[in-house]
Symmetry: C2
Subunit: 195 residues, 2 copies
DNA sequence: TTTCTTTGCTAACGAACGTTAGGATTAGTA
DNA sequence: TACTAATCCTAACGTTCGTTAGCAAAGAAA
């Protein structure tokens, strides 16, 4: 009972995610979504309450995943900050590549959330970025990293990572692990102090 | 006559740019745009042919500016590739900060162009990215830059730059020139060979 | 067998959409 | 003065939008 419902709901979520990603939330109609699922528009409402609920679920699920990954990566306070930062970068890449479509929606379509969800979302995002900022600041204070401005560095770093969904295609020649390492290297070799 | 028409047209372009940026192209209605201009929706069509024409003009004007800046920055073949790359990065930042709203539209709303404009736009964009790729490859071949993969490096570099419109606000504490230098430093010190 | 849940349909609602037609006003030009 | 171009209006067009109501089939649970 519960499983069957969730299964169909998940199909809807997944198809909606793909459409929101390629056409954008506002430009995707419920009739388009229904057609992609092989059903009629009205039928979708047996499973969801509103179109925005779909967007809400996508955005906040991804936010959860980013936080869970970051927390796991940065939990071990015994590690040097630079090492924790590298792990956090790799976790971010992992979440991104694990579901590129949802990530793209998370990054670009959140603005179509209405209040208060929008404000709540932005607060989460700010908190997440603050995590990176603090790791960088900590690493800079410990002499492991070099940057004039941790906030600036964090923005630039996340920017590079967040561009990934626009070019990454699953099944390419690079594994997600390759990508994570390369990105971390390219970004951190600009930050890490070399003897 | 011509000036007056262009002036009003420019007002429309500018207001449309701001709305497309904050609400997205698809979610911005002509009635909203008209209200922001203090006029009625139908009146706009004395100045433009269609809503998409507005988007088209924004996207392709920015593309022109990016190309003009890049060409000027990389024209002097006597300069080392790394130096030309730095100038290209600074030019990119200059175009971005010179009109953040239009840049954000250029970066995020082009997908709402219909064919053949969309394909044409993507070709321009690809050509622009290729310019950076080639500068990086050239610098790598000359031993001025270090990267395992010029394409990868170019993507990451442009990603950092293109995130700028999401956080930059004109009139902040940093001048655009400061920003350009800092970004170029942060990105190139990860690429430039240090003795 | 009866009951309930899941899933889907058709038909329609009111609202909003981009766009157009046709006319009015205004300011500058000849 | 007459003419032209620019600017904007009202009213409406056909379409599409998100969503709802009411009903039906189908399978699982009792």
């Amino acid at each position: 009972m519960e499983t069957a419902q969730l299964s169909r709901k998940d199909q809807i979520d997944q198809t909606a995610t793909a459409l929101f990603r390629t056409r954008g939330f506002a430009a995707t109609s419920m009739r388009e979504l229904a057609a992609a699922l092989g059903m009629e528009a009205g039928s979708i409402y047996s499973h969801i309450r509103s179109k925005e609920e779909l967007l809400h679920r996508i955005c906040f699920r991804l936010a959860d995943e980013f936080f869970a990954g970051f927390d796991a990566a940065s939990a071990d306070a015994a590690l040097p900050a630079a090492r924790r930062l590298r792990r956090a970068v790799e976790s971010h890449v992992w979440v991104l590549t694990n579901d590129v479509a949802a990530s793209a929606v998370f990054l670009h379509e959140w603005r179509h959330l209405s209040e208060p969800a929008r404000t709540e979302f932005l607060a989460l995002r700010e908190r997440y970025e603050a995590g990176f900022r603090e790791l960088i600041a900590e690493g800079a204070a410990a002499g492991e990293l070099f940057t004039l401005d941790p906030a600036f560095a964090a923005l630039t770093l996340l920017a590079s990572l967040n561009w990934l969904p626009t070019w990454y295609r699953p099944g390419g020649s690079l594994t997600t692990s390759d990508i994570a390492h390369r990105l971390a290297n390219q970004l951190l070799f600009g930050l890490e102090v070399r003897l």
